[in-house]
């Protein structure tokens, strides 16, 4: 009972208090990262940003992973599936926040809508997990030979993997009886409210909530900053190619 009480308090903390801390740490991280870059010397003028070339290489290299395709076909496949998984899962979560609803797929038939909101996410979850495990395996395999990872190279991957395992666990383990009010999980009133269609597996859900928030907090401090900075570096690379007429 005592454990249940403590756990309940903890779970309540994950939902009602932690989101504020998450947002604060995330914003602090963004501020730190920007300040870290902006406090460095500007350096000599690089090539001016040439938008068409910048856009071209962002599409080719960031969206289509052109260079990875050229260098390592298996890694390209894994990265494509990993990023499709990321996009798909983020999109799926938006339904819980009422940014879209299953009815938008009903025009293509009820069966298709069912597939899109129930069947596909489960398989996408497995695929997402498999790609992360490969990335972790690859990193450990090459460690000390071709790369020398820093703690945050593993940090982001490990937190993401735990978050994904917990998320997938929610789907595959049977739900437990939990209070009805968790059908709508209010993280920040009137701003971030998660509406759940089904009661999820209790423990998996709340630990998933915790690790998702840890991931959000860690994002600007971690190597995942490449999600944003990688677009900028690819755009600059595109402009460089233009300048050198390549």
């Amino acid at each position: 009972m005592a454990l249940n009480g403590a756990l309940s308090a903890l779970y309540s903390f994950f939902v009602t208090k932690l989101p504020y801390i998450t947002i604060a740490v995330f914003l602090l991280g963004v501020t730190y990262r920007l300040q870290r870059w902006l406090s460095a010397p500007k350096g000599p003028e690089g090539p001016p940003l040439h938008w068409p070339s910048a856009l071209k290489y962002v599409v080719l290299d960031v969206v289509l992973f052109r260079k990875t395709y050229k260098t390592d076909k298996l890694m390209w496949l894994v990265l494509v599936l990993f990023h499709i998984g990321t996009g798909g899962i983020l999109f799926g979560h938006m339904r819980g926040f009422h940014l879209w609803s299953a009815s938008m797929f009903e025009v293509l038939g009820h069966g298709f809508a069912e597939f899109m909101v129930h069947t596909l996410p489960l398989y996408m979850g497995w695929m997402f997990l498999a790609t992360q495990i490969y990335l972790l395996y690859r990193r450990t395999r090459l460690e000390g030979k071709q790369l020398q990872s820093l703690a945050n190279d593993y940090g982001a991957l490990v937190i993401l993997l735990i978050t994904s395992i917990l998320g997938q666990g929610m789907r595959i383990f049977p739900p437990e009886a939990i209070p009805t009010e968790t059908y709508s999980v209010v993280f920040i009133p009137n701003l971030i409210v998660l509406h759940l269609e089904k009661v999820p597996s209790h423990h998996w859900f709340f630990w998933h909530v915790l690790f998702t928030q840890l991931l959000v907090m860690y994002l600007p401090w971690s190597k995942l900053v490449h999600v944003v900075s990688g677009v900028a570096t690819s755009a600059l690379y595109g402009s460089r190619r233009r300048k050198y007429d390549l």
């Binding site: 870290r36 870059w37 190279d153």
Partner: protein, 406 residues
């Protein structure tokens, strides 16, 4: 070295470079394309590991912990490791070309060397090179008087050294001082004479272009060399500068404007661009050879210089049968001759070149040609060391040969 010095040295990474260091995911996708790593298989020589080491040292002095609790000292061992990584690099830029994020590694590694230089970690051999430059304005430590000795050795009859000329031929140290390249200078001079061009050499006034200084991380001195060379060229009213050295070409064309803070008043051409002009206008009419020729793109001319089609167009005038390496153009694999690797790891340099020579042989090439004295020297040295039977010619030599003047 004080901790203030370390902080200042590591604080030299620019905004873009710091963003690039933070972006590098240490994915190791570049590793198998790094010619040095593939030869030495030393983890420290992998580009991603260099990035890890650099950002680790940066964070010791400028990271969040350093800002809150104060910087931590950078040890001699750490500087040595970073130096070993930085100087076991040919500066070929291949890692930039395969990097999923397009990190501009050529500039980044240049900054890492500058940091190593400021942390007093430059390898001894590279340091000696700087001393020789100080004394004689060339990286070989030879008397500046002997800069035109190649003309005597090759029996060149007309050696113009004029006060004013339209065109200047900037020979470059590796062409002027290395016997393997003397005929490149002879071929260029002979073609200029044959065309009746109003041209000049700079003689003793020609200083090293500054490329080795930039590669050694000494940007400050490189600026002095840039200033001197530009002043000499401008005082002679030069409108077009021709050089057959890819390193000199890249530095004049892309680095001097950055070092001097403005555009140059004269046009910078690689000899190949000049020759292509003359071939297309019909002023030069070479015979075509039937020997099978293979062209190796110098990294500094192609990926880092922007000249990929021009040498191939020139080659089309010279050979009936020419072939390409599997990795060519922007994806060229370095010959091993760049980045001062000769000074820091000559064994790796020669072994890297051997792979290229073996590939050329396997494609049936009888002549391997390039457009860079450093590539030629490396191929010649490696062919001698590893007993590879292939003729090594600069493309300018091939032009002269097919014109019947060499």
């Amino acid at each position: 070295m004080t901790s203030r010095d370390a902080k200042e040295a590591l604080g030299k990474f620019t905004r873009r470079q710091l963003m690039e260091l933070d972006t590098c995911a240490h994915c190791a996708l570049c590793t198998e394309y790094c010619p040095v790593y593939m030869e030495t298989e030393e983890p420290g020589h992998a580009p991603g590991v260099r990035s890890s080491k650099a950002v680790k040292l940066y964070d010791k002095q400028h990271g969040l912990r350093a800002r809150i609790l104060g910087p931590r000292p950078v040890t001699d061992e750490e500087v040595e490791e970073l130096s070993d990584s930085a100087f076991n690099c040919t500066f070929c830029g291949r890692c930039m070309e395969v990097c999923p994020f397009g990190i501009q590694t050529h500039e980044l590694w240049s900054k890492v060397r500058e940091v190593v230089h400021d942390l007093e970690g430059t390898p001894r051999n590279v340091g000696m090179l700087e001393e020789m430059l100080d004394e004689s304005q060339n990286p070989y430590g030879l008397d500046p008087d002997s800069r035109l000795d190649w003309a005597d050795f090759t029996d060149l009859e007309e050696i113009p050294e004029k006060d004013k000329a339209e065109v200047a031929y900037f020979v470059g140290c590796t062409t002027a001082f290395k016997g393997a390249n003397h005929e490149v200078a002879f071929a260029t001079a002979s073609i200029l004479n044959m065309l009746g061009e109003d041209w000049t050499l700079l003689g003793e006034d020609e200083w090293c272009c500054g490329s080795p200084l930039l590669l050694a991380g000494d940007e400050h001195s490189a600026k002095e060399y840039a200033k001197h060379n530009v002043e000499v060229l401008e005082s002679r009213g030069v409108k077009r500068l021709i050089t057959g050295c890819s390193g000199c070409y890249r530095v004049f064309k892309w680095e001097y404007p950055k070092l001097l803070g403005g555009d140059l008043k004269f046009e910078v051409l690689h000899t190949l661009e000049y020759l292509l002009e003359k071939l297309e206008s019909g002023e030069l009419k070479p015979e075509k050879t039937d020997e099978r020729v293979i062209y190796h793109d110098p990294c500094e001319l192609s990926r880092l210089g922007g000249l990929i089609d021009e040498p191939r167009k020139v080659l089309a005038y010279l050979a009936n049968d020419w072939v390409e390496f599997a990795e060519h153009g922007i994806d060229v694999r370095c010959c091993g001759g760049g980045g001062l690797l000769q000074a820091s790891n000559n064994e790796a340099r020669l072994a890297i070149a051997k792979k290229r020579l073996d590939e050329a042989k396997s494609l049936g090439a009888e002549i391997i040609t390039s457009a860079c004295p450093s590539c030629k020297l490396t191929f010649v040295d490696s062919a001698r060391e590893h007993e590879v039977d292939i003729e090594v010619l600069d493309l300018v030599e091939l032009v002269a040969k097919q014109l019947g003047i060499l």
